[in-house]
Symmetry: C2
Subunit: 714 residues, 2 copies
C-alpha cells in the first residue's frame, strides 16, 4: 500500500518546473513531442491524447487507485493493495482468510463480488468549463455568495451532464480554482475479484518495506468489470456480462531493460507543487510533525483496541494500514524536506517571485497576495484543532443521515452536494461498508481518545456547543464526557442494518426516535451548519485569492521562460521517463531491477517476510519459465524508473512505447517522497514487473484460464 489515495487531510501549489518532470493531462502531450522523443518514445504522440482510443481507453480509475483493462472481456489489472479492503477484507471470514490463501477464480462463476460501492470509472470526456462554473461571479462577489454561486453552477452542470444512470460527472478544480474542467465518467457497478496472490506475495515486506527499495512485492491483482446484457451499468447480478472495453493492454513478457522508455497512465490524487511559501513553511515546521503525531496515535489506538479473536483486527486492517502508509510517507517527507533543503530552495524562489510581484503586479494583485497569505496563516492554526474534532464514524454517519433528512425537505436541485438524489446510493453503500470495517466499541475508544486531545486546544479553537455537550470545558470533568459518550454509543443505531432503517426517515421521524445518538447529532446540528458556512466562506475567498496567486505565478514563470502545470487532482494524467537505477547515498547504488532471488534472501519465516515453500522451491530450482531476463540472470520482480507519480497512481499501468503493459506502478521511495512538494530528479517510481506477474500466474498458479484470456507479447 502506498500510492493508494487516502483522503485524510485536506492538503493544499509550488514554483518551478523542468522539462522532464510532470503529470501531464493527455491533451497536453502533443506539445511535449520532442521531449517524449528524447526519452525514447517511438509511437504517434496524438494517439495518447484521445481518451476514446487505445491506449487511453484502457485506463480506468477504481476511485483512489488506478487500473487498466487487459482483455477484451473486462479483465482489469491493478495493485494488490488496491483491492485489499473492498475485495479481500470483505470476502474473508473466520473460516476463509483470503489474505492467507490468496484467491484465484478458475472460472467466471467463482469470481467474488466486491464490497458495496466497489466501482470502476472510465473517463469518457474532459471539458474546460471555467466560464460556466464562474458564471455570475466577478472579483467583487462577496465570498459566501461566491461559494453558493459556484456550488449552484456545479450542481447544474453535473445534472445536465449525468444524462444516464451509468454516467457520473465531476467538476474538477485546476490551479486552485483558476480553472475548472468537467470530467464525464462511465461508472461500472459490478466489479469482481478474479485473482489475488497470497499476502506474502501481494504485500511481501509489509510495512517494513513500504516506501522502500530494493523491493520485492508482487503488488498485483486482477478484477473483472461486469455490465448488464444491454451494456448499461448495473449493480451485481448473475445475468450481467463482462464489460467489453474499447481497448485493452497487451502484456509484455519481454518487459523493459535498463534505460528503456516507460510511461504511466493513471489518476494521481494530489501534489503540492504550487504552494505559497507560507504553506510549505508551515508543513515543514509544524504540519508534518503534527500529522505524524496524529497518525501514530491512530495506529496505536487501533492496535490497543482491536484483536484477532473478536474479528475487530480484520475490520480495522484497512484503516490501520492507511494510517501506517501515511505515517511512513509523511515521516519520509519530513526527512526529505531537510535532506533536499526544501525551505532553503523554496524560500529563495519565493523571494524571487516576491521581487517580480513588487515590480510587475498591479496594486490590487499585490493586495490580494497579502490577503491570501494572511488568510492561510489564520486557517492553518484552526485546521490543527479541527483534525481532532469528530473522529467518530458512528456520529459522522448519524450526522450524514440527519443532514440527509434535513436536505430531503428541499427540491433536489436545491439540496447540498452529497445529499442529492445522485448521492443516495453512495450514502447507503457507506453505511453497508460498516459491516466489515466498523466496530462500535473500537470506534468509541478512538473517539474518546481523540476527544481528550481536542479538549486540550484553547477554547476559541474548539466548537462551543460540541464542547459544552461533551463537558470538555469543565476541568477534571472528563469522566462526564466519558459518560456522555457511553450514553451516545448506547444508541439503537450502531449497525448497518439499524442505520439503513433510519436512512430514509423524515426529519420529524428522526427527531421522535428518542435515541441518544440522534439526540446528540441534533444538539450539534445548528453549530455544524454554522461552521460549514464559515469554512465555505473562507474557502471561497481563499480560492479566489489563490487563482490570483496562480496568475501571478504563471506570469512570473513565463517571464523566465518556464511553464507551470496543474497539481495532481485525481484526473487522468500521463507521466513518462526511463527505467533507471539511482544513487541516493554516497557509495551506494540502487539497481534498476530486483529479482526472485531477493525474495528468498529476505525470507525469514516471520511476517512480513514469510513466503510459501512452493515459491522458495521454485526460486532455488531456478524455475524461471518464459520470464527469464538475461540482464539480471533471473525473473525481475520490481523495477524503478524516473516516472513522476503520487498517491492515486497505485495500480497504474506502466507501459512501453508499444503501449504494452510492462508493469504496475505501486510505490515511491521514502528518501525522495518530498517530491510531492518539489520535483526531485532522483525520485523513482517502483513498478512490479510484468514478468513477475506472468511468472506468478504461469509458474506458481498454473492459471491457464487467465493466460488464455490475456494477450502476452513474447
Amino acid at each position: 500500500m502506498i500510492y493508494k489515495l487516502l483522503l485524510l487531510f485536506l492538503l493544499t501549489i509550488n514554483l518551478d518546473i523542468i522539462a522532464d518532470e510532470g503529470m501531464w493531462e493527455p491533451y497536453e502531450l502533443p506539445k511535449l513531442e520532442s521531449e517524449l522523443r528524447k526519452s525514447g518514445f517511438t509511437k504517434g504522440v496524438s494517439e495518447l491524447s484521445n481518451l476514446f482510443e487505445h491506449p487511453m481507453s484502457a485506463i480506468v480509475s477504481l476511485g483512489g487507485c488506478s487500473a487498466a483493462f487487459i482483455s477484451p472481456e473486462g479483465l482489469i489489472a491493478t495493485n494488490y493493495h488496491c483491492i485489499e479492503s473492498s475485495f479481500l477484507q470483505y470476502n474473508s471470514s473466520d473460516k476463509q482468510n483470503l489474505f492467507e490463501t490468496g484467491f484465484l477464480a478458475r472460472s467466471r462463476d467463482e469470481e467474488k463480488k466486491s464490497a458495496p460501492g466497489g466501482r470502476v470509472y472510465i473517463t469518457i470526456e474532459s471539458k474546460e468549463i471555467t466560464n460556466e462554473v464562474l458564471a455570475g461571479i466577478d472579483d467583487n462577489t462577496e465570498s459566501l455568495k461566491r461559494s453558493k454561486l459556484i456550488e449552484d453552477n456545479k450542481k447544474r452542470i453535473i445534472k445536465e451532464c449525468e444524462n444516464s444512470e451509468e454516467i457520473e460527472c465531476r467538476v474538477r478544480t485546476f490551479f486552485s480554482g483558476e480553472s475548472y474542467k468537467l470530467e464525464k465518467l462511465f461508472r461500472i457497478k459490478d466489479v469482481r475479484l478474479v485473482y489475488a496472490p497470497p499476502a506474502y506475495v501481494g504485500e511481501f515486506g509489509g510495512e517494513i518495506d513500504n516506501w522502500m527499495y530494493p523491493r520485492h512485492t508482487g503488488d498485483f491483482a486482477l478484477l473483472r468489470a461486469y455490465v448488464g446484457k444491454d451494456k448499461s451499468s448495473k449493480e451485481y447480478s448473475k445475468n450481467n456480462i463482462p464489460y467489453k472495453s474499447n481497448s485493452y493492454l497487451k502484456i509484455s513478457a519481454k518487459g523493459v531493460n535498463d534505460g528503456d522508455f516507460v510511461m504511466v497512465l493513471g489518476y494521481p490524487g494530489r501534489t503540492n507543487r504550487l504552494l505559497t511559501y507560507n504553506e510549505i513553511e508551515y508543513d515543514v515546521n509544524i504540519g508534518f510533525n503534527e500529522s505524524i503525531k496524529f497518525l501514530n496515535q491512530g495506529i496505536k489506538l487501533i492496535e490497543e483496541n482491536t484483536d484477532e479473536k473478536s474479528g475487530t483486527k480484520l475490520k480495522y486492517r484497512g484503516r490501520k494500514s492507511g494510517f501506517e502508509n501515511y505515517y511512513k510517507k509523511i515521516s519520509g517527507q519530513n526527512e526529505g524536506a531537510k535532506n533536499f533543503e526544501l525551505l532553503k530552495t523554496e524560500k529563495a524562489k519565493w523571494e524571487e517571485f516576491l521581487t517580480f510581484v513588487e515590480k510587475n503586479a498591479s496594486e490590487q494583485e499585490a493586495k490580494y497576495l497579502q490577503e491570501l497569505l494572511a488568510l492561510i496563516d489564520e486557517s492553518l492554526a484552526e485546521d490543527l484543532a479541527q483534525r481532532y474534532y469528530g473522529n467518530s464514524t458512528l456520529i459522522s454517519m448519524a450526522q450524514r443521515i440527519y443532514r440527509n433528512a434535513a436536505e430531503n425537505t428541499k427540491p433536489d436541485s436545491e439540496r447540498k452536494p452529497g445529499y442529492q438524489n445522485r448521492d443516495q446510493e453512495r450514502l447507503s453503500n457507506s453505511i453497508k461498508r460498516m459491516d466489515f470495517s466498523f466496530d462500535s466499541a473500537v470506534d468509541k475508544a478512538i473517539f474518546l481518545n481523540r476527544l481528550e486531545s481536542y479538549k486540550n486546544f484553547s477554547k476559541d479553537l474548539r466548537r462551543p456547543v460540541f464542547s459544552k455537550e461533551l463537558f470538555l470545558d469543565e476541568s477534571f470533568a472528563f469522566d462526564k464526557a466519558q459518560k456522555k459518550v457511553d450514553q451516545i454509543y448506547s444508541s439503537n443505531f450502531t449497525t448497518s442494518t439499524s442505520m439503513l432503517k433510519i436512512k430514509d426517515m423524515s426529519l420529524k421521524e428522526l427527531n421522535s426516535l428518542n435515541d441518544p445518538l440522534i439526540a446528540f447529532v441534533r444538539e450539534i446540528y445548528e453549530e455544524s451548519l454554522k461552521y460549514e458556512e464559515k469554512y465555505e466562506k473562507r474557502n471561497a475567498r481563499r480560492q479566489f485569492l489563490k487563482s490570483n496567486f496562480i496568475k501571478l505565478l504563471r506570469k512570473y514563470n513565463n517571464s523566465v521562460n518556464r511553464e507551470i502545470y496543474a497539481d495532481a487532482n485525481g484526473t487522468l494524467r500521463v507521466t513518462y521517463g526511463n527505467v533507471a537505477g539511482i544513487s541516493l547515498r554516497d557509495g551506494s547504488f540502487y539497481k534498476p531491477f530486483t529479482t526472485l532471488e531477493g525474495i528468498a534472501e529476505k525470507h525469514t519465516g516471520v511476517n512480513p517476510f514469510n513466503v510459501g515453500k512452493n515459491l522458495l522451491e521454485k526460486i532455488s530450482k531456478k524455475e524461471y519459465g518464459d520470464y527469464f531476463f538475461e540482464s539480471v540472470n533471473s525473473v525481475p520482480v520490481n523495477f524503478i524508473s524516473t516516472l513522476d507519480i503520487t498517491n492515486g497512481n497505485s495500480g497504474s499501468a506502466t507501459i512501453n512505447s508499444n503501449f504494452e503493459l510492462v508493469g504496475l506502478a505501486f510505490d515511491g521511495m521514502i528518501e525522495t517522497i518530498i517530491a510531492d512538494y518539489k520535483y526531485i530528479p532522483q525520485a523513482r517510481t517502483i513498478s512490479v514487473d510484468s514478468r513477475y506477474l506472468l511468472w506468478t500466474l504461469d509458474e506458481m498458479e498454473k492459471a491457464s484460464n487467465i493466460l488464455d484470456e490475456i494477450t502476452v507479447v513474447y
Copy 2:
C-alpha cells in the same frame, strides 16, 4: 575500530580453499605467481618474499595492529583507531582532549611520547623450527610431560634467539601445533605521535558505521620510531634519533581505480578456517550468542559505572570500544552464519571428510580424531563458565605480581613463560598502563557483576576454593560475597605506584604485607596453579590431536587437489586482490569508492556524525586540491577491495603493483564478517584512500613538514 586485535577470547580450523583467497606467508608467494599475474600484479614476485627488502622491510607491527614506514626518517602510517589508547587517551587530560582537537607535531620536538609499552616490531627472520620445538616428544609422550617439554624447548629456543636487548623472539604455532616457526623481531621502544586527525575525521561514524560500508572514516594517523644514536633500541630519550628503516613506502596521489590490483601487507591475528565441525556448530549455536551476551553486559557495565566528570569515561574508552567492536563483529558473524548457511555447507564438507577418514585413515588416526572431538565437546562447556571467572583487573594484576615473586625463587630458565627476566619490563608496563585505563571502583563494579553471573554456573564448573572464598555457594549470601569484595578492594595496592612498589618483593615480603588483596590472591594461588596444570595438560593433548586432524585434513584436501593454508596467527602475511564494488543484497550495489560529499551527506551535527565547519566548507566549495579523482568526481575517502584480512590487519598498508601506499586497510563489512570461518567471495576490505590522507594533510592541516618528508607519487 575494527580490525584491531583484541585478545578477549581464546578462539580456536575449516575446510576448503580456493586459489584467490588466503593470507599468505611471504615465502609462499612465488608459487602463486600465475594467480598474482591474473590479478594484475606486474612486479617481480620474488621481491615480495624477502623480508629484508622493499617492500617487506617497510612493514611493521604495533602489537595488535599493522603499520608501515613512509619515510627514511622512521615515519609510520597506521590507523587512527590503532593509536587511540596508547597515544590519544594517554596524552589527553581535562585540559586537552586530543580526541576533540586532533594533534599535529609541526616539528619533531612537539611529537608526543607513547603510553608505557608502546612498541614497533619489525620481523627480521622467520624460521621453521618444528623439530626443535617437538624435540624429545613422540606420539606416546604423556600430555603434561609433552606440555612441559614444549615449554622448555620454546624457552631455550627463545633464549638463544634473543641475543640482544632489542631483539624479541616468538615461537609461532601453525596448523594448531602441526608446525612451529621462530619469529625474530626488532623491537623499537621509543614511538611518538606525529599526527592524528580530530576524532570526527579519525572515527567519523563511530560505532554506528563500524563494520559498515559505505564508509567515510579518515582512519589514519602517523607515528615516528626512534632509536638510540648507536641505532640500538632504547626507551624514550631526548637524545634518541629517528629510526632509519631499510625501506619505506612512497604514497600515491594517483591512488587506485575500480578493478586495480592491490595487496595488503600486515599482521592478521586469528582466523578459524580449519576448525572441526564440532567447533563451528558450537560457535554458531551457542558460542556467538554467549559472546554477544558477555560483551553486551560489558558495554552496559562500563556505561553504568563511568562518567565524564570523574575521568573514568575516558579511562574506559578503549575497553568499551573494544567490547563494542567485538559485540558488533560477533553479531555480524551470527547473522552471516545464517545468511551464508555456514552450518549446512560446513556439515556437508565435514561429512565428505569423515567419509575420507573412514576409507583412508589408519585405525589410530581415526581413534585420535574421535578423541579430539570428545575433548572439544568437553572443554567447550567449561570454557563458558571460565569466561565469567576473574574479570577483575586488580586481582589479576595482584595474581601476576604474586606469581612473579613465586617464580623468582627459581633460576630464570626454569621460570614460567611470562615471568622470566625478559618479561619483567612488560609486567611493569602493564602496571603503569593502569594510570590511564583503570579505576578501582569501576573495576570492582565489573568484577561483582561478572561474579553474579559466575555464581549461576553449576558447582562442578566453578573453581571450588575461589567460590568458597567469595561465598558463592551459600544461597542468599551474595551480600557476603559483596562484603568480601569490598574488603579485597580496600587494599593498599590499587594504583600503579603502589603496585610497582611491591612488584619486585619476595614471596615472603608479600606474604607479610597483611593486605586483603594479597591475602585473597594467596588463598586462591594453589587452586590457580592446579587449574593451570589441568588446562596445560588438556591443551597439550588437544594440540597433539589437532595436529593429527590437520594431517588428515591435508591428506583429504590433497586427494581432491586442494591445498590448505595456515590460519592467521599474528605473523606477517600478504593478501592480494582487486578494487571492486559488491552487491550484497538484491537490487543494491556498493560502489568501490566513497567521496568527500558523503561526509557532508552523513553530517548531522550530532556525534559521531559531527564534523568541523572547515571540513564542510572545503567540501561544499569543492576544494579538492591535487587529489581529485575523475571517476568519482571528487576526492575518494574510502574504497573496498577483494582482499582477505581480519583483526590485526588494522593499519596495514594497502599497496599497488609499484609497492606504493594507496590506502590503509581498517575494516571489513558486517554482512561478510563470517569470513573468519569460511572464505566468502563477496567479502570486501575497507581501506582509507591515500588521496584522502594526502588531502587532509595538505588541504585541511597544511602539514608542510610532513608533506616535505614523505614521497608523494603524482
